[in-house]
């Protein structure tokens, strides 16, 4: 075993990674090509027709893109999107993938964007986001205890939730801690498509959390069932089991997105 040189500093100062100053700001800690949010490109003026609608619909493995041919509308459900980028491959000129992470929403419906074909690309669900932006400067009043519950996730979401606790994201500086029991928690952070086998446990955990409580659905799975959808072994999203306050889309949502969602949940943003 090599003896540590006495003079060598205990903490390696050449180490570059620093705690991110403000995780809610888009900065170079997020790569440009990071797949964070999929939308129809609003800069492109396209007269959509049946064909394009159908191609888009077919390109999505989780059926996040649906096309209604009677009223010529395209719905993009961010709660179902697993950010695979398949739609971009199929129709590169229509789809835009950005590295945005601030997509958590309070209502499930708000995750669904509607693009109508006649008046192209008018977003219809924007009010809430605007309203929240105005509150952004408020400071925390109290600390928040979170209990994480895995209701059948693939463990991708857990990796990102764990990352919140590392020195780079360091969620504790906001007064947010992860606790060991739902009885100590204000917030339940739930991942996974809610497998049937976890249904009971999730209900019990929800009931044992003291009121007032907040439930946050993390990831495409928890929002909608994600790629697993609604099958014999899953329930197709945790709002089928317990009431949900905030939906954080993504597969998995990156730590910044998680933080945004948590802050949104407690109305501090």
């Amino acid at each position: 075993m090599k003896k540590r040189d006495k003079k060598e500093p205990f903490i390696d100062t050449s180490f570059k990674s620093k705690t991110i100053k403000n995780p809610l700001k888009m900065d170079d800690s997020i790569a440009d090509n990071y797949r964070g949010y999929v939308t129809l490109d609003p800069d492109k003026e396209f007269i959509l027709n049946d064909k394009i609608g159908k191609i888009l619909e077919k390109s999505c493995p989780t059926h996040a893109i649906t096309y209604q041919n009677n009223d010529l509308k395209i719905h993009l459900d961010n709660g179902k999107c697993i950010l695979c980028g398949n739609c971009k491959v199929e129709s590169p000129e229509l789809i835009k993938i950005t590295n945005k992470f601030d997509q958590a929403k309070k209502r499930r419906d708000d995750l669904i964007e509607t693009f109508s074909m006649s008046a192209p690309f008018e977003k219809t669900y924007d009010e809430l986001g605007q309203e929240l932006k105005n509150k952004i400067d408020k400071i925390f009043g109290r600390s928040l205890a979170i209990r994480e519950i895995d209701a059948g996730s693939c463990n991708g979401c857990e990796i990102e939730i764990n990352a919140l606790n590392n020195p780079i994201y360091d969620i504790e500086r906001y007064g947010i801690t992860f606790v060991a029991s739902p009885r100590h928690a204000d917030v339940l952070l739930v991942t996974g498509p809610a497998s049937k086998n976890m249904e009971q446990a999730l209900k019990i955990a929800y009931d044992s959390t003291p009121n007032p409580k907040i439930v946050i659905a993390v990831g495409a799975c928890a929002c909608s069932g994600g790629i697993f959808g609604n099958n014999y072994a899953t329930t197709g999203g945790i709002d089928n089991i317990v009431p949900v306050n905030v939906y954080i889309p993504g597969c998995p949502p990156r730590p910044q997105a998680l933080l945004y969602g948590i802050l949104l949940a407690i109305n501090k943003i």
Partner: protein, 535 residues
């Protein structure tokens, strides 16, 4: 291969055999009642171990269920399928548990998913389906994946452990940390664990079943999500199986990129696990520093692929992500930096006696038990069983990798180091360190990328009912994906056996005679995936 074929010829059994996909030998015994005996001979004379048991509902094709015992060698690149059929006459299938104790878990799985027992009078404990309504067998073809099932309580009894002063501690399915769900039932005397029984299956999502109703291109996304942190290994095994069936040779460059991502995946996960081990013994400073390294690699992943956990890299016929020689230089420099720091952290940990004290002699496993249970990956390497798919069954670009020759001194030092692997937490810790260093060497050995494109596409339709085995070494160990193609490029049967599935049973042995408080570090040192086990 020839060696095995001629050995098979010398056996006194009557059977037909075919060689498929270069390294698969398919054997059908004439007299199926000899199956157990036959497998026993294979085990004793050819040193084969049970890899998995694949059950398949083929009533649509030939009115039968089929059962494939997949055996493999730890030394040579061969896979042996012993195939037998079950029809109305045979409602039970022979249990191999006398020959391979590991087979019990597969038998329980088959019982859950197909409703077929090994023997009339055995009652197998349920493994995957918990409180599902009775008499549903999800993997049978006449079961629709979208069926709404009612809740109905199914009994699950933990083996009762009784005696003076024995207490039971139930833990889970929701744990105290941010990890996946599973139930552990401890029986303790004071602080010491005298028995532990696991109950998993909580994250069962029906992956094998829903794959049958998806297009093969979409199943790539599904395979990435079998276990989020093994996305490359699993999608690679899946793609390789399809490419084998379609006899597709993918570009060298694509193979190189797959390999780079596979090793990056190994690196970030090992950093994470090491950090977890150190967290669990209560040394947050060391854990945080390792965690920073993990984060650095994840950021590298993000820059390279657009996903922090490498989703969306593989596709059938190649990869989607391009790399250039500049990217390689960038990867090398990030890794150089990270590993320099890593070695320093390692020195720090090794010189800290309280850390070493907690790791040493904790959670010991025995070699024989490891063999019997068919452990793979780190869990087996920690006790000196060399099992590494990258060596035994070289796939992708691995055969072309030339690592630096070790000097005799280094080889000897390594041998001495290996002698110290006694199956405790420290051995697993050090095996991971070895793995990390090796991954870095592998990545370093790639200095230029080939120039032959990123992917090729499948021509025409795959032959219906042809099958193939894909395999990869994830950071947990050998991962096997067996696929049988249906009509019109659909999937007829998708059998996944992750390293976690074969390794989980060891935890019940490893915790014996340890104190309850050490359970978390023992569990973390194995680092099994719950999702990869429950599928």
């Amino acid at each position: 291969m020839e060696h095995y074929l001629s050995k098979l010829e010398q056996l006194k059994f009557k059977f037909t055999k075919h060689v498929k996909n270069n390294n698969e030998i398919h054997i059908e015994l004439d007299d199926t009642s000899q199956l157990i005996e036959f497998c026993n001979i294979l085990k004793l004379e050819m040193n084969l171990r049970l890899l998995t048991i694949i059950y398949c509902d083929e009533r649509k094709i030939n009115h039968e269920f089929s059962i494939r015992y997949l055996l493999g060698s730890d030394i040579d690149d061969i896979f042996l399928f012993v195939i037998s059929h079950m029809n109305k006459k045979h409602a039970y299938f022979p249990s191999l548990s006398d020959v391979f104790p590991s087979s019990i878990k597969y038998e329980r799985e088959i019982n859950d998913m197909f409703g077929i027992q090994t023997q009339e009078d055995t009652i197998l404990k349920p493994l995957i389906l918990h409180d599902f309504q009775k008499n549903v067998f999800p993997l049978r073809k006449d079961f629709d994946a979208k069926t709404e099932l009612n809740y109905s309580h199914r009994k699950f009894e933990f083996t009762p452990i009784t005696g003076d002063g024995i207490c039971e501690i139930p833990v889970g399915p929701i744990h105290a940390g941010i990890i996946e769900p599973g139930h552990f039932r401890f029986s303790v005397i004071g602080e010491t664990i005298v028995n532990m029984e696991t109950r998993l299956g909580y994250t069962h999502k029906g992956i094998e079943k829903i794959a049958e109703s998806m297009s093969i291109d979409d199943v790539v996304f599904l395979s990435e999500r079998i276990s989020g942190d093994e996305s490359i290994a699993n999608s690679m095994a899946f793609c390789q199986a399809i490419e084998k069936i379609g006899q597709l040779t993918i570009p060298q460059k694509a193979e190189q990129i797959r390999l780079l991502f596979a090793e990056l995946e190994r690196i970030y996960n090992h950093f994470g696990t090491l950090s977890g081990i150190i967290t669990d013994i209560g040394f947050p400073y060391g854990a945080s520093r390792l965690n920073i390294l993990k984060e650095q690699i994840m950021q590298l992943n993000e820059k390279l692929s657009g996903s922090r956990i490498l989703f969306g890299v593989n596709q059938i016929g190649g990869v989607k992500i391009n790399m250039t020689d500049e990217t390689l230089i960038y990867i090398h420099s990030v890794l150089d930096n990270a590993f320099q720091t890593f070695e320093k952290i390692l020195d720090l940990l090794k010189s800290n006696s309280s850390v070493m004290d907690r790791l040493r002699n904790t959670g010991m496993i025995e070699k024989q038990v490891a063999r019997d249970l068919g452990l793979v990956g780190i869990s087996s390497r920690c006790i000196g069983i060399e099992s590494d798919t990258r060596h035994t069954h070289p796939y992708g670009y691995y055969p072309s990798i030339r690592l630096k020759q070790k000097t005799p001194r280094e080889t000897m030092e390594h041998q001495v180091e290996l002698q110290k692997r006694i199956g405790d937490v420290l051995s697993r810790f050090m095996s991971r360190v070895d793995d990390l260093r090796q991954s870095k060497e592998i990545i370093d050995s790639i200095t230029t990328l080939k120039n032959d494109g990123l992917s090729v596409s499948l021509e025409g339709e795959l032959a219906p009912y042809s099958s193939g085995l894909g395999y990869a070494e994830s950071h947990r160990g050998e991962t096997l994906h067996w696929i049988m193609i249906g009509e019109h490029n659909s999937i007829f049967r998708y059998k996944i056996r992750t390293a976690s599935f074969s390794n989980w049973p060891i935890i019940e042995h490893a915790v014996l005679n340890n104190i309850v408080a050490d359970f978390s570090v023992i569990n973390k040192s194995f680092d099994f995936s719950y999702s990869g086990n429950d599928l």
